[in-house]
């Protein structure tokens, strides 16, 4: 007994326990990353997107029922704001679920692929449309790291009735649009509804990015990424200033920094604001009479207009795969049941999402699905896209993305000048 308490023994004992605990803690969840087949088919969803979980659940009950019996679907949820951080932790422990929402910052998904955690889905993407493939490849260095559970175009949606009531024709240029804002504001109608609370400020930075692409051409942001231009260059600052100016005039409504995504969408859908910048993923909301009180036939879609003297055109459509999902490489390669699930998703997701949620995806969909008129209009727009462009933060690091989106609200509230905004983002580009 006495020997047990010798300092050396104690130290050795301590070290051994520490090692055991550390190893246990870092071992990860064997059910999803181990050699053997996993019990469940796990999907990490985000709270802000209910369509993917809904569609997968629907698939598990019908089209993929066999796969679901072999490996039951299990959905875990995560707030979008902390998704990247959760993925880093899970990725670091080798404990990523078989299917998970791709990181907010594409750079993180690329990193995860770099250390062998994410599958290059090219081999399982036979049912993916070429338009989606091209967007994915431009985002992920020519690799197909995600499955396109959405294929979106973005633009400005407007309330047809509010415009007609105020004698406004659909604006074709930026100047027309700003004149419409002024007219609406004078009439006591909130011109734009846009969220600016914390990370939801992406809606505001989209205005900056698109203005830039219209004024400086479709390569404007690529030039920043490759170093041939800076965000603090005067012509770039002018874009942020144009949006800051809308903020100063109060066009984004009362306190955009207090408005979150759901509130902003709700403001538009209850007829309290005339315009909203949004992606076509919102079609499921627009087509839902429970949410959309102004009626789907009252919602119009406007391509981001051209800016006087700018080299960009309105046809250069902001397109993306929105909330996409990625596949954990190790779990996929070692588990035939997971492979069967993924195959079933690729084959059926497009049809089910379109049928049940009016969600346009990058997967091929059954041509016989009946869709509402607004969805059909957007489908046609997507089919007609010749050149697609990416969003403001697409080439930024995770840090610059966060800083940019968190500052969006202040820009829309008129509390930040364009110059200050661009400086803040630039100093975090790293």
């Amino acid at each position: 007994m006495a020997s047990l308490f010798r300092p050396k023994t104690l130290v050795a004992l301590g070290a051994a326990t520490a090692l055991a605990l550390t190893t246990a803690a870092c071992g990860g969840d064997d059910s999803s990353s181990g050699d053997s087949a996993a019990k469940n088919f796990s999907f990490l969803a985000i709270n802000e997107n209910t369509t993917i979980a809904k569609t997968l659940t629907s698939l598990s009950q019908k089209e993929c029922a066999t796969e679901n019996t072999a490996q039951p679907l299990e959905i875990k949820k995560q707030a979008q704001a902390s998704l990247d951080q959760q993925l880093q932790l899970l990725g670091g422990q080798g404990a990523l679920p078989q299917l998970f929402t791709a990181a907010n910052a594409p750079s993180l998904t690329k990193q995860l692929a770099g250390n062998g955690s994410v599958l290059d889905a090219a081999s399982v993407s036979q049912g993916v449309q070429p338009a989606a493939t091209s967007v994915i490849k431009s985002l992920y260095d020519d690799k197909q790291l995600v499955l396109p559970t959405e294929l979106n175009i973005e633009g400005i949606w407007y309330n047809k009735k509010l415009l007609a009531d105020n004698g406004i024709t659909v604006p074709a240029t930026w100047d027309d649009l700003v004149a419409a804002f002024a007219k609406l504001q004078a009439a006591g109608v909130q011109p734009i509804s846009q969220a600016g609370k914390g990370g939801d400020g992406w809606g505001v930075t989209r205005w900056v990015g698109n203005y830039l692409l219209r004024s400086q051409g479709p390569d404007a942001l690529k030039k920043v990424a490759d170093g041939s231009a800076k965000l603090t260059d005067p012509q770039y600052v002018a874009a942020a200033d144009a949006i800051a100016d809308l903020g100063r005039k109060g066009y984004f409504g009362k306190s955009p920094t207090s408005i979150d995504y759901a509130t902003a969408l709700n403001t538009f859908e209850t007829g309290k604001a005339a315009f909203i910048y949004m992606g076509s993923w919102a079609l499921s909301d627009f087509n839902d009479p429970g949410k959309n009180k102004i009626g789907a036939d009252n919602v119009g879609f406007l391509k981001f207009p051209t800016v006087a003297g700018g080299s960009g055109t309105a046809d250069q459509m902001p397109a993306n795969v929105g909330t996409a999902v990625a596949i954990a490489k190790k779990s996929y390669e070692k588990d035939p049941k997971t492979q069967a699930w993924v195959k079933c998703i690729v084959a059926n997701y497009g049809t089910v999402a379109l049928r049940d949620s009016s969600q346009i995806t990058g997967f091929a969909a059954d041509a016989g699905v009946q869709v509402p008129a607004l969805t059909k209009q957007i489908q046609d727009e997507i089919a007609g896209v010749q050149t697609s462009v990416l969003w403001f933060e697409a080439y930024f690091s995770a840090k610059a993305t966060t800083v940019s989106q968190n500052s969006g609200g202040q820009l829309a509230g008129g509390q930040l000048t364009g110059e200050k905004f661009m400086q803040t983002v630039t100093s975090n580009l790293g």
Binding site: G14, G92, Q111, S255, I259, K399, Q410, G413
Partner: protein
Amino acid sequence: MHSVLGDRKSVALLLGPALLVYSLVMLVPMLWSLGYTFYTGSVISGFTFTGLDNFTKLFDDPALPSSLWFTVKYAVVITAGQVLMGYLLALLYVFFLRRAGSVVRTLIFFPVILPTVAVALLFQKFFEFAPQTGPVNALIEAFGGTGVDWFATPGHAFLVVALMDIWRSMGFYAVLLYAGLLDIPDDLMEAAALDGATTWRLIRSIIVPLSLPVLVSSLVFSINGTLKAFDSIYALTGGGPGSATTPLTLYMYQTSFAYGDYGYGSTIALTLTVLCLLVTVLIFRATRRDAGQEQS
């Protein structure tokens, strides 16, 4: 007793388990984190040795000074508010609320046990500007003023954070200081009162000096707690507007876990540790000098 503590075996037996747990959950991660300061990267991208790069980056980082300044400002204001309000409440309990004291003490202590996130949500709603008008702005408007967008400007956001944190924790310091005040012998107070000392004089010459040790402990508690504050600010403002209410703790957390740079995150953590150490040493030295003067 002396023989028990002189026995190395019993010392090891008594200290061993606690030391082991402490080492595992505190020392090992601390040393680990210290090691990270010489690296860059994350568990995903892998770690690269960068020598002292993270430390030079500290001086070039434009976000660090504002974060550091916010941390210090927050710590000073909240500590002063918490301890002062706590002390005033304790005096109130001792001198004016001897009978109903326990009810009032319970009520004022109540926010201490409420979950931080719940309190933060409560304050968010209280000070809401849009889409709904919260009670505070409704009151301002009722008196003819214009509502304030509390969370849109750094100054106002700081004010709400300060109010919330002082309200949330003053009950704790009140109880702590109350216990200290109860230790002051009644006969000493009675003697002074008989000698004709006024209430102010009583407080200045008897109560404050005799409760100084517990006051200093409160200060040390408070300043170290507020320098490390995280949850209340994260839940209330999320560090915003922009990064205007981002203390070092939140910046460290974002850097490590959201931006995936464990090395620089650890360097920020080290900065915070040094700051805490400096402040604690300063407070202890200042009070030791006071104690020394009193004895001489």
